[in-house]
């Protein structure tokens, strides 16, 4: 009986509503624009969603602790430039460059974590600083040049097949399978392992978590390390989908990931959130981004409408809390 209620309430929550929104948006755009209902459009939406999804999975952890990670957007570009530079200009094998990207991400995540948990900097400020640092570092890493990771068909371009393979004439977005797998794995980490449990505990009541004998500093840092690690993965996904990576870009990516996570039900005040919710939330943003130009709206409208959707999501969060209080 109890279990049944749980299942029901799970379907009743924000995640489910957002999933309906995703479906509704897809149907809406499909009706409005015949060009939208093409397989290739789905391919594009998926292609352009991977790096945001990866960032969103990662940033869900700092968000649940009640913090935020603003460094993932510029970080992504920075890690990609560093890895790409080594591949293109130093002749490193592709896998080594990819490894460097991810490790770089972990390193910056560690820095964020230390600033927040050891030095007690407010997360907004700490990650704003690393956001600037990575933006500058990215340009420095590539000596200011845009870096084209090995293009399709050239040597060392196998990494592009991680996200999309071509069989005969048809392209298959296998990246989506990895995304689902990662969401399942990280969902497990969040709900069934110590790291996840303590992440929620810190976001719920940091003082209490500390008094319970949890090594709060370590687990708080880990949340940012996870975020950095996924920004590193996102760097690979970005490099695999786009031809060149340009220094100076990337600012604003993090807002799409954070926005997606919040639309997907992560509470802006911490303690609540799910990885699958973040995934679905990102698709709201990606659908708007891709779909709005198809119905003839100038690109600026995408940002305005995304903002409005975010306000809606935050309102839902607040209303839910009010209800809970009563």
């Amino acid at each position: 009986m109890n279990k049944k209620n749980n299942v029901l309430s799970k379907f009743n929550n924000q995640k489910f509503i957002v999933l309906l929104v995703v479906i509704a948006l897809f149907i809406f755009f499909s009706i409005m624009s015949p060009n939208f209902r093409k397989y290739t459009t789905v391919l594009s939406i998926l292609d352009y969603s991977y790096y945001i999804i990866l960032m969103a999975i990662g940033v869900t952890f700092p968000l649940i602790t009640g913090g935020v990670d603003l460094s993932i957007g510029t970080g992504l570009i920075c890690y990609s430039l560093a890895g790409g530079y080594l591949i293109v200009h130093c002749g490193w094998p592709t896998w080594a460059g990819m490894l460097v990207s991810v490790l770089f991400g972990v390193l910056i995540g560690l820095l964020n974590g230390c600033l927040v948990s050891l030095m007690n900097l407010p997360p907004f400020l700490a990650t704003l600083c690393t956001c600037m640092i990575t933006r500058g570092l990215g340009s420095l890493c590539s000596k200011g040049f845009g870096i084209p990771w090995p293009t399709a068909g050239t040597e060392g371009s196998w990494f592009r097949n991680i996200f999309k393979i071509t069989v005969g004439e048809t392209k298959y977005p296998i990246g989506f399978i990895w995304m689902i797998l990662l969401v399942i794995v990280m969902g497990f980490v969040l709900n069934h392992t110590k790291i996840g449990r303590y992440t929620i505990a810190i976001g719920s009541n940091k003082e209490a978590a500390m008094l319970s004998g949890i090594n709060v500093k370590f687990y708080h840092t880990m949340a940012y390390v996870i975020s950095g690690f996924f920004a590193g993965l996102a760097a690979i996904a970005y490099s695999a989908v786009f031809a060149t990576v340009q220094p100076g870009s990337g600012a604003g990516f993090e807002l799409e990931a954070i926005g997606g996570a919040i639309i997907g039900g992560v509470s802006a005040s911490g303690g609540v959130g799910s990885i699958s919710g973040s995934l679905i939330g990102v698709f709201v943003i990606c659908l708007l981004k891709t779909g709005l130009p198809y119905i003839g709206l100038q690109a600026n409208w995408q940002q305005i409408i995304t903002g409005l959707v975010l306000i809606g999501a935050v309102l839902v969060d607040i209303l839910k809390k009010k209800k809970a209080v009563k």
Partner: protein
Amino acid sequence: MGEVILTMKDIDKSFPGVHALDHVSFEVQKGEVHALMGENGAGKSTLMKVLTGIYTKDSGSIIFEGKEVEFHNAREAQDAGVVIVHQELNMLGHLTVAQNIFIGREFKKGIKIDDKKMNEEAKKLFDKLNIDIDPTETMSNLTVGKQQMCEIAKAISHDAKVIVFDEPSAALTEAEIQELFKIINDLRKQNLGIVYISHRMDEIKVITDRVTVMRDGTYVGTLITKDCTKDDIINMMVGRVIYEDPKSKSMVAPDAPVVLKVEHLNAGKMVQDVSFELRKGEILGFSGLMGAGRTETARAIFGADPKQSGKIYVNGKEVTINSPEDAVKCGIGYLSEDRKRYGIVVQKTVAENSTMAFLENFVKGLFIDKKAEKDIAQKYVDSLATKTPSVDQLVVNLSGGNQQKVVIAKWLVRDCDILIFDEPTRGIDVGAKNEIYKLMNKLAEEGKSIIMISSEMTEILRMSDRIVVMCEGKKTGEIGIEEAKQETIMNMATREIK
């Protein structure tokens, strides 16, 4: 009772500028409940924090189970069997009951946390304590009382040998307190050493075996509870007798005009068809158990929460109050039970807080008239005898009682004639309580009308001219102070509603 399990000897601890503990000694025996008493700031909490490793002592020794120990953090103390049930509940609201109880030492299957086993173990624990709580329930869905039970269960699950209860009853209803006492008695039978910190005299008499009193960071003495009176303890705490008898008769003239009249007020579940009158110069006590709907009634009158129906008359005229702003315009001021959250801005000065509700009166052109602000603040600091070095002091640096006075000043500056005091002396020590009482009496004499919500029976009986009793959102009784007795009020407060 008998064997000593914990001894703290000559504990000394200084903070910059404060000698918090001055060679304090304290001991707990197996199977006793040992009360630790003292006014706020007497050093009880500091002593317990030294015990559990949250603070490091400057000198002295702690002997636990015959061995000298020094815990470096709460975890080490827990592992050894010394556990605190904190005054402010340390709950992780987003996690389940079982997850809370086993936080920091989860059962695991490989890398997976074994929630199933944790639920089973929690259930066993609750069965042992005779508590009915579902381990899979989310913590924030439980009542405060149930949450506290979980804290206790958590402490016991640590295989505790000494449990420190830090003001456990502060947020509990009478029924929940009875349940708590039952559990504490059980624990006593199991030969645990229990430290019980509380301000409530009546509880001390009921539950404890010995009382140790502290004052200003020093040890005053230890008494056997059954051989001493409340006044003995209070004398040790404050050095003077302050426990007063109930008010014998109403101070309000029978023909005093009605200043506030509430008719058939409905606001959600917690306020159902509440009607009452408040006269000029009257202190109207609102009694009832936790969750009776008193605060909700006050908030609905004040416009802080929406109401469904009902009429409010101020000085005979019907008024519409949809927001606190409306209420303030009608001359109603509300002093919240949770000062820090709703009453004051702790990082602002006394002067800034004083004018907060009436800032528009202190604005010259675009700027705040700092001089006028300071003058009026000073006036009320003097008249309320607020202890502060100056009106420029940050409120965070004042004691609880003086913070409360700043809140009162805020509403007096606004010239409010109707003041709603919600738990005016919560978290305030005995001496300061007295001052707040005097102040309320003085305000009533000056013609202000006061609604006082209080969960402390002694406070209700001592201060009120008339008492309204609520239970589960309904008004269940109204009684003049002349006829009021603890038993009659309790009876109304727990009356079953048909």
